[in-house]
């Protein structure tokens, strides 16, 4: 089943997933022998090999009450988890068997009018890449084996579920991305995150940041949440998703909050209560797929079948603002009032302090500098570790390993090297911006960078530069932007809202005749681009405008320049947030001279005729 086909089905009905697999297996009171020996006892996934009747019985129980989708018994079947039982090399086989068992059972219950589907379950493993438990690539490789096994065994779709760390989710999605590229099988994917009782994911991720991060992936068809709590505790987050997620919403709660009774997790939510909440989620919020997680039995799930057959989802009105995110929280690419401030100080080329910290490999100092910018009012941080003679990939790795969890703002990865960019993306749990692409060497750079943006869900800054160099007139800037936009959207599958155009700032401080009109042209180009492609965003590195002038003049000129750029539609500004002041704080004369300089209002003597 492709994502498109899944969307088609969801147009007509609420899909019902099955209930708890683990809890249901436990209730069968299986012996160590059933698991294939003492050393394997508790490895539910190995039952696919040692006692396939056990998972089959679970599937049957749920299919009997009328579910549409059953999940394969493969939650922990990645090599990362299986290694704990010495079964790492059996991952492909176990996943394939899991899918085959589910496939066979589902087919028994399928009719031409009423198809039953198999979802390949991909759990979070036991490791958190954001905490350095495992390298991103190792995790991706492990997931890739699982994806192949599940798909080859006949799974209709994949569910990356119970996600704890967005970097883990991204590793699973990178694996699926590669699988699709290699096989052409555009299998449907559901991503389901887990919001703990404290209101965020285990790593502290707010639901908005998770949505921002996963939403750009076009391989993901449905987004939602499962596990950790009962439906009541999920309510606000479900509401949030239904109001904000462009993707259909999936909800699979536990049978209430688990209570520890005599060392056993017990779940107390009654089928009545589950029905009440889930009906509400469907009819009042607009949830599209419902199911049960830990502690839910066929009795519970039969009520969900009832809900799905009687209730139709509320049509949703979505307000989604294109955004970027750190591992913790999300920032929209357009703020009201503008601009989104991109802090410029974590740049080895632009900030002496950051360069010195980098050379001294003082990583704590770099984190500190990042945090200072948060205080100064930055919303996003530019990060550039390029420095002549140093290993930029290594530096990026070291810095990103810290920034990912220690800096609460989304990052703008600033590098000309695509290897550095990918290194950063593999270590960024949230949604980053890549800075930047251009057409200086024709399409070459886009060809390298945009596939990375797709694979990791990043947004990208595009400079208005082409083979002829930096575009200087508004017409030329628009022309280059148009060409980049067409290629990015039509050829590389980016969306307009993922593009952030930088119309280039030249200094007005040199007095050079060539740049006298540079200010107006840059500002007017913003207006033209926003008019032609209103969904795209615009960005300027503001400080360049005043290069060559004394400090106070720079301060004033930058502020006035930013004011007029915002008026023309500027969304983001790379600035030192502390060095921008509101217009009313500038004396009137200074403000007026700056305006005249930006709009080139020189006066000339009248020509003697």
């Amino acid at each position: 089943m492709t994502g498109q086909e899944l969307l088609e089905i969801l147009k007509h009905k609420v899909l019902v997933f099955d209930g708890a697999t683990g809890t249901s297996l436990q209730m069968q009171n299986l012996s160590a022998a059933d698991f294939g020996g003492e050393s394997l006892a508790g490895c539910n996934e190995y039952l696919n090999i040692s006692k396939p009747e056990a998972p089959e019985k679970v599937h049957r129980g749920f299919l009997e009450v009328g579910v549409d989708v059953i999940e394969t018994n493969s939650f922990g079947a990645t090599s990362v988890v299986l290694a704990e039982y010495g079964l790492a090399d059996k991952s492909y086989e176990i996943n394939k068997r899991a899918a085959q068992i589910a496939r066979k059972t589902a087919d028994e219950y399928s009719t031409p009018e009423y198809g039953r589907y198999v979802a390949g379950s991909m759990g979070p493993t036991t490791k958190l890449p954001s905490l350095g438990h495992i390298e991103f690539d190792a995790m991706r490789e492990s997931y890739k084996v699982q994806v192949r096994g599940l798909a080859d065994g006949g799974a209709d779709l994949l569910i990356v579920e119970t996600c704890q760390d967005l970097l883990q989710t991204k590793a699973a999605l990178a694996a699926i991305h590669e699988y699709i590229e290699e096989t052409g099988n555009r299998i449907a994917v559901i991503v389901s995150i887990t919001i703990e009782t404290m209101g965020t994911m285990l790593m502290g991720t707010e639901i908005s940041a998770a949505l921002t991060t996963i939403e750009p992936y076009d391989i993901v068809t449905v987004f939602g949440m499962n596990c950790a709590t009962g439906p009541k505790e999920m309510e606000e987050n479900v509401r949030f998703l239904c109001e904000n997620s462009p993707k259909p919403v999936f909800v699979m709660p536990n049978a209430g909050l688990p209570e520890n009774i005599g060392g056993q997790a017990c779940y107390h939510l009654t089928p009545d209560e589950l029905e009440f909440w889930m009906k509400r989620f469907v009819t009042e919020f607009g949830v599209s797929i419902i199911g049960g997680c830990c502690g839910t039995t066929p009795d519970h799930i039969s009520r969900l079948v009832k809900v799905a057959s009687q209730a139709s989802p509320k049509p949703r009105e979505i307000s989604y603002a294109p955004s970027v995110a750190s591992i913790y929280s999300s920032v929209a690419l357009h703020l009201d009032p503008p601009p989104v401030i991109v802090g410029e100080r974590c740049n080895a080329n632009g900030s002496r302090k950051f360069k010195e910290l980098l050379l001294a490999e003082d990583y704590d100092g770099m984190v500190q500098l990042a945090k200072e910018q948060i205080k100064e009012g930055a919303h996003i941080l530019d990060l550039c570790v390029a420095y002549v003679g140093r290993d930029e990939v290594r530096d990026m790795r070291e810095v990103m390993n810290r920034f990912n969890t220690q800096v609460a703002l989304p990052l703008m990865i600033d590098s000309t090297e695509y290897q550095v960019i990918e290194e950063a993306l593999k270590r960024c749990a949230g949604r980053a911006i890549i800075n930047s692409i251009n057409l200086e060497d024709g399409e070459e750079r886009m060809k390298r960078v945009l596939p990375l943006c797709k694979k990791y869900g990043a947004a990208v800054v595009a400079l208005t530069i082409d083979e002829a160099g930096m575009a200087k007139t508004r017409g030329k800037k628009l022309e280059v932007a148009r060409r980049i936009r067409d290629l990015a959207v039509n050829k590389y599958g980016m969306r307009e809202e993922d593009l952030i155009f930088d119309t280039l700032t030249f200094t007005l401080g040199s007095g050079d005749e060539e740049f006298r009109k540079a200010g107006i042209e840059t500002i007017e180009a913003i207006r033209l681009i926003k008019h032609e492609f209103p969904r795209t965003h615009t960005l300027l590195g503001v400080s360049n405008a005043s290069f060559g002038l004394n400090a106070h003049s720079r301060h004033v000129l930058n502020s006035v320049f930013l004011y007029y750029a915002i008026e023309a539609g500027l969304d983001l500004a790379i600035v030192n947030a502390q060095k921008i002041m509101p217009l009313y704080k500038i004396d009137e004369r200074g403000r007026e001279i700056s305006r005249q300089l930006i709009f080139d209002e020189r006066k000339f003597e009248v020509a003697a005729s």
Binding site: G199, E235, R239, F276, P337, A551, S553, F604, E605
Partner: protein, 581 residues
């Protein structure tokens, strides 16, 4: 074509205009060019006290300390007042200036022979009897003190005798009374009557949330023959003192002031008599009950009795923070003179970062310890009374009840615990809170939820400490955040109650609308228009025992710590705020 000669180049102009500003200098580099006097004045206006000692030291070479204060620094405070008055400067920055002023005066004091000459006048300030709210009064203190006045700040819950004594023993020029509660406006009137009775004519200034200019100028001026003024904000307090001390207001000839307005007063008197008569008439025809529906379904609670909750995330609470109340009400970032857009920019640039910083501080220093005690109780109305029941066989009703549970409630298992008597509107819709509940005659039990929430005692202690340490700006910020956080917690818990009762389907999606009752039912707090009797707090305390979460009640029925609130939650869809006149 030959090039024309450029006769005006903005680039050259800009370079010349700011030429004196040294490259690499910090943002204050323009200040380098200013004279010492201007620089000091500018420091006061900008609230820039880092390094002010150096400037003051230089100034001492030229002027005696008193002259520095009166002619330079106070001139800066005058500018601050003007900027505040015209809406160009927000209160938190005013406080920053006041802190700077305080720093400067403290530096200069040891160089002065006698400090008294410094004071331009003396005022006694107090929050009146029965009221514990002192932020407004303390702001007046800050502004007056740092504008050269001597302030005798008597604190909170001050009886009139103490105020008068202090005024006499300090030969004060004026008295300032403050209070947030509606009840305090009545106390102020009694105080003024007392003062008038004793023949006092000392000028009085009044301020507080429940006070209006109209009430002061029309009603209160009649009972007091001294000069009486209303202060809308801290600077009004300053203007009041300036008016008195400059002789602009002839304090001695106050009789004239009252006579002048006696014609107006007479008219008012007549009007009031009319309306009083109208009141009596309607009283005769007053129905015993409003037209509120008596048959709305009664929701099922998750339990009867009460329980305490202590594990509450601050982030959760802050989702319910009423930012308008915090920014405009508590922090006083006024919108005056600003367009919607400009105001939004101010919030974005100045206010939200402050909020983030204060929230961080609260978390880091664990200043808030949010706790809730709440419960659900069976109840019935009887006329204007609301009867609350308790289980017959329950040893301790201050818990979730074990003998009476939802579904097992019947009249033989419960007995009357206590009753509230709520006032009824004398006109309009004749509403009374009791009307929202099923009457005894119906034989049905209705349901009421009651809550008490607190942010904990640390917030009060910390804000007090900030005030004493002259961290005025932080004092304002932290006090405001703590008070509004308690309100937010109440709002949040009300939301939980609606969810538990499954009456939250109509909740407004937009958080802001929740603050204007965008939900089913209503939350009433004692002391507010629909249930003005503060004494009812004692009954609420009997129901919930908020002592369990560290909240106690003073003799004047005020909650301690201040950052606490209590409420009754009514589920009836027609229940909204209303006024008892």
């Amino acid at each position: 074509m030959t090039e024309l000669r450029c006769i005006y180049d903005p680039l050259v102009e800009l370079m010349n205009y700011y030429a004196a500003a040294k490259p690499g200098a910090r943002k204050e580099d323009a200040a380098e060019l200013l004279s010492l006097e201007e620089k000091l004045k500018r420091r006061i206006v900008d609230g820039d006290r880092v390094g002010i000692d150096g400037d003051l030291k230089k100034a001492l070479d030229k002027y005696p300390p008193l002259q520095i204060i009166n002619e330079i620094l106070l001139d800066g405070m005058r500018v601050v007042g003007e900027l505040f008055g015209s809406g160009q400067m927000q209160l938190p920055f005013v406080l920053q200036s006041a802190e700077t002023m305080k720093t400067a005066v403290k530096y200069l004091e040891p160089f002065m022979e006698r400090v008294e000459g410094l004071q331009k006048g003396t005022i006694v300030l107090a929050t009146v009897k029965g009221d514990v709210h002192d932020i407004g009064k303390n702001l007046v203190d800050i502004i007056l003190t740092n504008n050269g006045y001597k302030v005798i700040n008597l604190g909170i819950k001050v009886p009139i005798e103490t105020i008068i004594e202090a005024a006499e023993s300090n030969s004060a020029d004026a008295i300032g009374m403050s209070g947030l509660l509606v009840k305090s406006t009545v106390i102020m009137k009694e105080n003024l009557e007392q003062m008038d009775l004793r023949g006092l004519r000392i000028p009085v200034v009044l301020g507080g949330a429940a006070l209006t200019r109209k009430y002061v100028e029309r009603d209160l001026r009649k009972v007091y023959n001294g000069y009486l003024s209303y202060a809308n904000d801290a600077f009004d307090g300053l203007h009041f003192m300036e008016d008195i001390k400059s002789g602009k207001v002839d304090v001695a000839e106050l009789k004239d002031v009252t006579t002048a307005s006696s014609a107006l007063n007479k008219t008012l008197e007549l009007n009031r008599k009319d309306s009083a008569r109208a009141g009596t008439e309607s009283e005769a025809a007053m129905p015993v009950r409003s037209k509120v529906s008596r048959s709305v379904p009664v929701p099922t609670p998750p339990f009867y009795g009460s329980t305490t909750i202590t594990d509450i995330k601050l982030e959760k609470i802050w989702e319910y923070l009423n930012e308008v109340a915090l920014f405009r009400g508590q922090w006083q970032f006024s919108k005056k003179g600003k367009t919607e857009d400009e105001y939004r920019r101010t919030l974005e640039a100045e206010v939200f970062p402050v909020l983030a910083e204060q929230e961080l501080r609260v978390k880091r220093e664990r200043l808030f310890e949010p706790k809730v005690v709440y419960g659900y109780f069976p109840c019935q109305s009887s006329g204007d009374d609301l009867i609350i029941y308790r289980p017959v066989g329950e040893e301790d009703p201050h818990n979730k009840w074990s003998t009476v549970k939802p579904g097992s409630l019947s009249s033989d298992k419960v007995t009357e615990w206590l009753r509230f008597t709520f006032p009824r509107q004398r006109d309009d819709r004749f509403l009374c809170i009791s009307d929202y509940f099923r009457p005894v005659e119906s034989g049905d039990f209705d349901l009421i939820s009651v809550q008490a929430v607190t942010i904990g005692p640390k917030a009060s202690e910390f804000t007090k400490h900030l005030f004493e340490a002259a961290n005025y700006q932080d004092y304002l910020y932290m006090h405001g955040l703590s008070v509004e956080s308690a309100e937010a917690l109440a709002e949040y818990w009300h939301k939980i109650v609606r969810t538990e009762l499954r009456i939250d389907a109509n909740d407004a999606k937009d958080m802001k609308r929740l603050f204007s009752q965008g939900y089913q039912g209503s939350r009433y707090s004692f002391g507010y228009p629909a249930c003005p009797n503060l004494e009812d707090q004692a009954k609420l305390f009997e129901l919930l025992r908020p002592e369990r979460i560290g909240v106690t009640l003073t003799e004047e029925f005020q909650l301690v710590p201040e950052q606490s609130t209590t409420a009754i939650v009514v589920h009836h869809p027609e229940a909204k705020y209303f006024n008892i006149k």
